[in-house]
Symmetry: C2
Subunit: 199 residues, 2 copies
Amino acid sequence: MLDKIYVALIHYPCLGKDDKIISTAVTNIDIHDIARTCRTYDVKQYYMVTNLPAQQEIIRRVLKFWIDGSGRKFNENRTEALYEVALKSYYEDVIEEITQREGEKPLSVFTSARIRPNTITFKNMGDELRKSSKPILMVFGTGHGLPNEILDTCDYSLEPVRGLGDFNHLSVRSAIAIILDRLIGEEIAPYARDLTDTL
Amino acid sequence: MLDKIYVALIHYPCLGKDDKIISTAVTNIDIHDIARTCRTYDVKQYYMVTNLPAQQEIIRRVLKFWIDGSGRKFNENRTEALYEVALKSYYEDVIEEITQREGEKPLSVFTSARIRPNTITFKNMGDELRKSSKPILMVFGTGHGLPNEILDTCDYSLEPVRGLGDFNHLSVRSAIAIILDRLIGEEIAPYARDLTDTL
């Protein structure tokens, strides 16, 4: 079903340049762009995950400006999109909240710019999204990507976008847009909106 | 053919809130994200169009940092993507440069979040891209979109991404990513790279 799709953007744990685990900085435009994409594709909630209080504060300030502040007067569509955003300290908190909300644990989908073993194709993942009655969590990394400790907890690992091209360095904002479009496309699911509105 | 695709991001003339013609501000991340997307999909050149000297200076400074400055040491892939970017003052300058480079005027494709008369579908536009031997210029707006004076000069008007959804406010960064993916997808065109390298 397309009415229980969740997106998480992970800032910790992520890989740094030397493949060590780091906490990445929040990018202001990641809040906006990914919220707008998620709202466009009827994603039920967009979780931003960072364990650092100063980074959490950045997210809270942006949301406050657009939801309670003067941003709403400037651009109401932006405000509507930012209702998608929920802030969590850890990945485990996201799994826990979805599990409580839906009454069952979500199937989690690891994403990466690299081809991994046991990769599911876009076609098969799209079929799974439509067929499964379970909630689905799409997990995206920042920095140099998600570590194996996240991969190991995931039910699927999605094939990369243009993994065979000679340049494979899309921004996470562009990657999320392309991936949701490939999986959901033009399918319009007004019921998803109705459901979210009642929560 | 997929080896003569060009992208232009227009900052003037664009529509403002009240549908008057304005010059929009350059967004730093539009330089990066769209260059990375264009490089990923083997776009031949990404034109940023702004008539304001102060805005042109922003683009030049960003490119200088990543191409001649310390940015290259920080992230070489970013430098590679930013070679895609060319700065022009006016839309007409883009048409002129492509015409000189390719020996013929490009077919130009208007994009919009709204459905317009004489719209071409993604399917038909993708077929046209593969079939046509002419250069193709995809034209994207900022602010509240492109004015009719641009539409009137274009050969095609592309259908919007999820034009029938109840929320249709993708960022231009996400829209370009989705549109290039829909038109080009996983098709890998190494010949395009070879051609560009000789220019």
